[in-house]
Symmetry: C2
Subunit: 467 residues, 2 copies
């Protein structure tokens, strides 16, 4: 082999070094760009595909009122199972869950005043509440705003009466969920508390800031040992009217009929679909919503939307060939609304199997335009998580705040799973929540799609960067 002149050899060496340097540089740049590109493709896919919206329409229009234990819930389970298969999940299965079996009956409520006349009130029985007799109850009514007032009034004022809890949402609170949190004990514990003082039934102002005719249901919980009394929610407009009439006629009588019934527990299912992890298949990231919805609602906002977003994570990953390191599970929990046994069962089985649960995200705060996520994390961890916000800048998703995940994934916390809540804008949520106003038509396809993309992107980044 002929020896090259020294200068030429040097030139080649330098060229070689430059070439290697450039290759390394380009590969680094590509690597840095890759997540941005993948997130961009996730948004493109979510925003140009109607599968999630069509899935939601089916759940709303064909499995309306899918409260745990109902035939509609069974139909929703079968639909969701098929939707996960269609989404391309590597595996799909049903997880058996014990659920209460509560069935609404006839409902009627009217108020009679010697001054104001008679008026039917728009009511709905609270979930798990006991019913009246077939003839209903007729009694005087007393307006109360909190449990302190109830205590002050005491047995002598309450006994034999219907207690009307009428503390509204505090409209000054910016986050609607805080306003809900400040009022909801009237519904969950009010019947129990009123019963202690001899009340024979409870009417609760609906849990919403809206002034309208929709009564909003929701679960009530009787404390151990109390006499279980019938409990219903009344629309906010009728609550206002009742309060108005009471101001000038304290001897109003109410006739209340609610023949709902509790039956023995039944069996139902969580619906689960997975994309297998490419590196750590035995570590799990859960993305969930709850499949059950109140019997009077189509359950679009609460929480069909969360379910179809979970399914969409699977669909998008499979469509785009995104291979997470860990196994990503879409879990459609059953029975969030009454006793949350879906979430409990899921965590129990995970614990029994010794599964490693890395993180869990729940979408159960509606499907309005995405604002961001809440993380149940200390400040150090939160700071790390906030490093991800830059990826979301192009999508105007900026809120990475401290906060909870959701009731279905809460039992996974004991297993070490980071708790994440999907946070859409909260202002409209309680207009729909637990009422006949929670319909498919209330969901905007783009707001739903933006949320799906945000969720799929966050899970991808958490997994990629091991955050």
């Amino acid at each position: 082999m002929q020896s090259m002149p020294r200068s030429m050899s040097n030139t080649r060496e330098v060229q070689k070094i430059i070439t290697v340097f450039l290759l390394v540089l380009v590969s680094h740049l590509l690597k840095a760009q890759e997540p941005a590109k993948i997130i961009s493709s996730v948004f493109d896919e979510a925003l140009t595909d109607r599968t999630a919206y069509n899935n939601l329409e089916y759940l709303c229009k064909h499995t309306k009122g899918r409260i745990a234990g109902s035939p509609a819930a069974e139909k929703a389970i079968e639909y969701a199972r098929q939707a996960l298969i269609n989404a391309g999940a590597d595996t799909v299965w049903l997880q058996k869950v014990p659920v209460p079996h509560w069935v609404r009956g006839n409902e009627k409520c009217s108020v009679k005043s010697s001054i104001h006349g008679k008026k039917d009130l728009s009511i709905t029985a609270l979930g798990l509440s006991v019913g009246t007799t077939e003839e209903g109850i007729t009694a005087k009514i007393i307006e109360v705003h909190d449990f302190e007032e109830l205590k002050t009034l005491g047995l002598k004022s309450i006994q034999g009466k219907i207690v009307f809890f009428n503390r509204p949402f505090d409209n000054k609170l910016i986050n609607s969920f805080s306003a809900y949190g400040g009022a909801v004990n009237q519904r969950t514990m009010g019947p129990s508390e009123a019963s202690k003082y001899g009340a024979i039934a409870v009417i609760v102002r609906s849990m919403t800031q809206s002034l309208d005719k929709f009564p909003h249901t929701g679960v009530t919980r009787y404390a151990d040992g109390v006499n279980k009394i019938p409990a219903v929610a009344v629309s906010t407009l009728d609550a206002e009217l009742l309060s108005q009439w009471l101001k000038t006629d304290s001897s109003l009588t109410i006739h209340l009929l609610s023949t709902c019934k509790n039956y023995p527990d039944a069996w139902s299912y969580n619906v689960i679909g997975e994309v297998y992890g490419s590196l750590k298949p035995h570590e799990y990231i859960t993305v969930g919503g709850h499949l059950d919805a109140w019997d009077i609602a189509e359950g679009a906002v609460d929480d069909g939307g969360g379910c179809v977003q979970a399914i969409e994570t699977i669909r998008i990953y499979k469509k785009l060939g995104i291979k997470p390191k860990r196994t990503v599970r879409a879990v459609l929990f059953m029975n969030e609304e009454m006793t949350a046994t879906g979430g409990k069962t899921y965590a129990e089985e995970a614990k029994n199997k010794g599964e490693v649960h890395y993180a869990a995200l729940e979408s159960d705060r509606g499907v309005m335009s995405p604002r961001g996520f809440s993380f149940d994390a200390d400040s150090t961890k939160l700071e790390k998580l906030r490093s991800l916000t830059s990826w979301f800048e192009p999508y105007n998703i900026r809120d990475f705040d401290k906060g909870g995940g959701g009731s279905d994934i809460a039992p996974l916390k004991a297993l070490g799973a980071l708790q994440i809540g999907y946070i859409p804008d909260s202002q409209r949520y309680f207009w729909y929540h637990h009422s006949a106003n929670d319909t498919f038509e209330q969901v905007n396809i783009r707001e739903l799609q933006m949320g799906s993309a945000a969720i799929a992107s966050l899970i991808y980044l958490l997994d990629l960067f091991d955050l």
Copy 2:
């Protein structure tokens, strides 16, 4: 006078110094807290008062279709004037504005195919468009997506036909206004462009991402010298159908009737209310929306909401006793939708009077939940403005971005007024925009209220800190 022991004197001196120091400290702390307190009281007031919502209901339900030059617009002017007086404005007046006078006629459109049969299409004439004869037009139709394609097709393919512009919004764009910007030239310039190649009318796909039955109108502008041809928008669902039918039957015929007419210009008014400045009464900050709305709409989202938010700024300042240094003007502009003469007249008069215009904010992007503001400012100025974001943290309003103000306040830019756009969430906006779907019911009271509070707070801070 008995002399004090030295130590006691010293102690008193020290006490005095400490007292003064504490007083200064407290006064500084109070001063720093004051804006936070005032903003908090602005939000409290906005979120617990229904005046703006009630004003919006009136504008929607009693002055529906208030396009400039219409009797409904006259009624809206009188209502807005009274609403500003009720809000407590120091002065309220009307500013005369020349406006076009365009009136919709009978409208009907159907498609006939030898293969597919016959179908009525859901259409609406474009604003300022010319009409057909009373018998209407019957002609073949040709689908076109942009002006390049139109040029390529040329006179031989276009002449004597109806051009159907059918380029949809790009759903991949995150900001809905960007998607609108990418499609709207079909409506504004399409009729002119098509006319150049001998088209006899234009049908434009409605400017929305939604797939529904509502046709969306909007202004079209004929270029000088072109033959003015009738122009209508068709609902997106019917646009999809037309396109589908054309794929298998290129000899479809359309019958189009639109007997709208342009009349001689008329006079109308901007409605203006002020809170006098306490220190610089001759410097102005304008807060505006536009009072006119398309004749087929209630004009809740576009732009009754912006109007009632401007009125609300006045009401909140007067109710809370906020005294801005500069004069704050609520301006309800007339005729934004057709030729924007309200904004032009306002700026012209300001210039003629030598008024100093410090800043101007427009709310004309809907009244969904507030995300923030856009500022037409260079990076140095924007950085300064961003120092205000900390005041908005408690209200989850985080977006202070570069961007425009709005078409009504744009002419004030030449006078040096900082241009500010109010930015609510954009995803749902084009579901309503310029269509019969823009109704009062589409507005959520809390989203509206949050926006009013955000606007009133920003103006207060800009004025306070001279930003």
